[in-house]
């Protein structure tokens, strides 16, 4: 493989930057990436801009790694531009893969987001009833900002994605593994993963890797994490503390349950699962120790807002994708 360096772009949509941080958390490995690749676009850290990408030939980029979902017109536009110019496109992190935390906004009407941010808010300047607009004119100057879409989309709803790296953010050692797998494939040293594969994660659930002791799960109520002092060795669900691990793909190192905090599902669903929330729903209901409808209702009262646990990181990837309230 000659001296030609790999052409790499790393970009963000409606992101928080944590995925870019996770790439840098690979520490010295980033120096190896630097040796092997030219980073043509990476707004957080390096050179390259939109005009540079526009000037590229189609397929000139070997790999684009994009985090963040699609919340506005700029996110979509650049995702499509990068797809056109790239051989391989990786959806990196929960937002790109599933919509992420910002996709919780899919459960509320778009107008309410604006109302809460700019109008009905204790901090807003008294009398200031202004809402930002995509196109404005100020003193004769034409100004524009991106169109805020009515919902969040995951990347493969707007472009064709080759691989997914799950996590919020993906753990650095998994990031490294994923990049190495791609480099090996691109340099002919190994077969590429099958298109559409989830890379940088395992083919099993968190429970398989969690160190806590698991026995019979029968609970007579749920507890919110602050309501009790938990047993650090026992499965959280057995203690009535909701943990999404049974419905979540492993690969994260089980850092949360191992630190006394329940999993919230950021690595997404296990293989072949269509809706992570539906699976969690089954898991949660299966441990309720009751056969009486009234009692079951009472037990469920101790578990408020299950909806936000069901697809905490993946409303855009769930079967219903967003609220359908008319």
């Amino acid at each position: 493989m000659a001296d030609k360096k790999l052409q790499l772009a790393i970009y963000w949509g409606a992101a928080c930057g944590g995925c870019d941080v996770s790439i840098l958390d690979t520490n010295e490995f980033i120096l190896d990436v630097d040796k092997a690749a030219d980073v043509r676009l990476w707004p957080i850290a390096a050179d390259g801009k939109y005009a540079d990408v526009e000037a590229m030939d189609d397929g000139e980029l070997d790999v684009t790694i994009m985090s963040g979902g699609v919340r506005n017109s700029e996110n979509e536009h650049i995702a499509k531009l990068l797809r056109q110019k790239s051989k391989i496109f990786v959806a990196y992190g929960s937002c790109a893969y599933m919509g992420g935390i910002p996709a919780l906004a899919n459960l509320v009407p778009r107008d309410e987001i604006f109302t809460r941010a700019y109008l009905d808010n204790p901090s807003i300047e008294p009398g200031n009833q202004t809402i930002p607009k995509p196109e404005t004119k100020v003193n004769g100057y034409d100004l524009n900002i991106p169109d805020f879409y009515k919902r969040v989309y995951k990347l493969d709803q707007v472009i064709d994605v080759d691989y997914y790296v799950p996590g919020c953010p993906p753990q650095p050692d998994q990031c490294k593994a994923a990049i190495l797998a791609l480099v090996a494939a691109l340099t002919g040293q190994a077969d590429p993963p099958p298109k559409g594969a989830v890379v940088g994660a395992f083919e099993r659930n968190l429970c398989d890797d969690c160190e806590r002791e698991k026995s019979e799960k029968k609970i007579s109520r749920f507890y919110r994490p602050w309501e009790i002092m938990q047993d650090p060795k026992q499965c959280l669900m057995e203690q009535g503390i909701l943990c999404a691990g049974s419905a979540t793909r492993s690969g994260c190192g089980v850092r949360c349950p191992n630190s006394g905090i329940p999993c919230r599902g950021c690595y997404g669903p296990a293989p072949n699962v269509l809706d992570q929330g539906a699976k969690l729903l089954s898991a949660v209901s299966s441990i309720i120790d009751s056969q009486d409808p009234a009692e079951i209702d009472e037990i469920l009262e101790t578990l408020p807002d299950f909806t936000s646990f069901a697809n905490r990181y993946g409303v855009a990837a769930s079967l219903l994708q967003r609220s359908h309230r008319q």
């Binding site: 930057g17 944590g18 990476w42 987001i113 941010a117 901090s123 900002i145 602050w226 905090i261």
Partner: protein, 488 residues
């Protein structure tokens, strides 16, 4: 006829941003607009969620300072439960937070700030990056930066279970404590980090303060604003990043007011413009006056420099030495030289390291009572911390079941929205001469304005070769007459 120069996208800023510069017929700057194109709606979609889940949701506002949101959120949540918190938890949280501050400041200084100072604002763009810094000052620096940043991240992970997207705080305290063997692991790293802060200050002295041109740019350049300063202080008016009261001091050094977190809404309000998704905070009692400087202005900065400006002293001895040296060199306290933010960051790091060391020697720090079970839900809480780039406020309401009914956030960088907008115009106006097309050095010097405010994404431990991409198209009479590109 008006011509427009677009700088899009701005890099090394939270999310996305752009600058539009409008020139008049003579080529002088008529106006500029600093626009933020992002909105995600956290304030709305956290409503309906169990309030204890918010500290794990709001961390996704920013992946570089998630611990800041986690802490502010945790404190607001504690308020919703009547404020009962295990005392040891506060200590541990503060300890954890110092580590967070250190790795973020290290990354910002070395990757974002150092190139401009070590190599010069108008140095050849091809080398004006962290690799150029490394070549100039030695190959060991890059490794030391990575190592130190890694150590601070690891300290966070050991104490709190996870770094980069925090999980640790619960109503009443934190989910896990620090074991004695974990403390023993951390102790030598804390000493090394302290040494690294001293090394960083010395680097700054040698490379920046030893160069009259740089000092001149810092002190006399267009990077100043006559607006006020905000920061959290303790009872001695020393900076405290985790807790305290918010102090606002005018640019002549006089205190305007000091408030408790619960009173934030009486003191700070937000103005909205149609051309940006980001709001513009201002001092509420003075009212919104527009983008106006001056002693009566209602605008303020919240930055590392602001924190040191509102403080009467530092909280730790070696940091105090750094504080004294800095303001003496800059000609007095407070100081309006925005580029001094880079220096202020290094002084803060010293306090972070000294504070960490104090906690390491605290015999109670490995105690087991790190959480209490709250006995009541009181329904409202305000949590304020200093994020690396400014005062961060989270205000929550919840119902009697602890379900969030309302959330109001004033994020650290938001405080600086108006100042950044204004100083960009000031710099562009000062540096873009009528009749003279702006060159590469000018372009970078415009960028140095917003960069001084510490963009939220300060994570570039090792930036890669190249420079910030800029393209400037100069139009005259409907034609593009010049097209300057840098890094693109």
């Amino acid at each position: 006829m008006t011509r427009k120069i677009s700088i899009d996208p701005i890099t090394r800023l939270e999310g996305h941003g752009k600058i539009e510069i409008f020139l008049d017929d003579s080529g002088a700057v008529e106006d500029t607009f600093f626009q933020i194109p992002e909105l995600r709606g956290f304030e709305r979609f956290v409503v309906g969620r169990p309030i204890e889940e918010l500290p794990r949701i709001v961390t996704r506002i920013c992946g570089v300072c998630p611990a800041s949101h986690h802490m502010a959120s945790a404190k607001a949540v504690d308020g919703c439960f009547g404020g009962e918190v295990a005392p040891l938890a506060h200590k541990l949280r503060d300890m954890y937070y110092q580590a967070h501050f250190i790795h973020s400041h290290i990354a910002h200084f070395y990757a974002l700030a150092a190139p401009d100072f070590v190599l010069g604002p108008d140095a050849d763009p091809a080398i004006r990056n962290v690799l150029g810094v490394v070549h100039k000052v030695g190959l060991e620096i890059g490794g030391a930066v990575i190592k130190s940043r890694g150590q601070a991240q690891e300290i966070q992970r050991i104490i709190g279970g996870r770094n980069t997207q925090d999980i640790w705080c619960l109503p009443g305290g934190v989910a896990k404590g620090l074991k004695p063997e974990e403390l023993e692991q951390i102790k030598p790293w804390v000493d090394e980090l302290y040494d690294f802060t001293q090394f960083s200050l010395q680097l700054f002295r040698d490379v920046v303060l030893g160069n009259e041109t740089y000092v001149d740019i810092i002190v006399n350049g267009p990077y100043t604003l006559d607006v006020h300063n905000m920061g959290l202080v303790d009872e001695n008016n020393a900076p405290n990043f985790y807790d305290g009261k918010v102090r606002v001091v005018d640019f002549e050094g006089k205190e305007i007011f000091k408030y408790e977190p619960k009173d934030y809404a009486e003191n700070v309000a937000e103005h909205v413009e149609e051309w940006s998704y980001l709001k513009f905070p201002y001092l509420k009692q003075r009212g919104w006056m527009g983008f106006v400087e001056g002693i009566d202005s209602s605008l303020y900065c919240a930055t590392p420099l602001s924190r040191l400006n509102v403080a009467d002293r530092m909280a730790t001895p070696k940091a105090q030495e750094g504080f004294d040296e800095m303001f003496k060199t800059l000609g007095g306290h407070p100081c309006k030289a925005l580029l001094a933010n880079h220096w202020a960051r290094l002084v803060e790091m010293v306090q972070n390291a000294e504070t960490l060391k104090t906690y390491c020697n605290d015999p109670e720090i490995t105690g087991e009572e790190v959480r209490v079970i709250p006995s009541k839900i009181t329904g409202e809480g305000v949590g304020i911390v200093e994020a690396m780039r400014g005062t961060l406020t989270h205000h929550y309401n919840c119902d009697e079941n602890g379900i969030c009914t309302r959330a109001n956030l004033i994020v650290g960088t938001t405080n600086n929205n108006a100042p950044i907008h204004m100083v960009t115009k000031k710099i562009a106006s000062a540096l873009i001469q009528p009749g003279k097309d702006p060159d590469q050095g000018i372009l970078n010097m415009i960028e140095m304005g917003f960069r001084a405010f510490d963009p939220c994404y300060s994570c570039a431990t090792h930036s890669l070769p190249g420079e910030m991409p800029l393209e400037v198209r100069v139009h005259r009479g409907g034609q593009v007459t010049h097209n300057f590109k840098r890094g693109c």
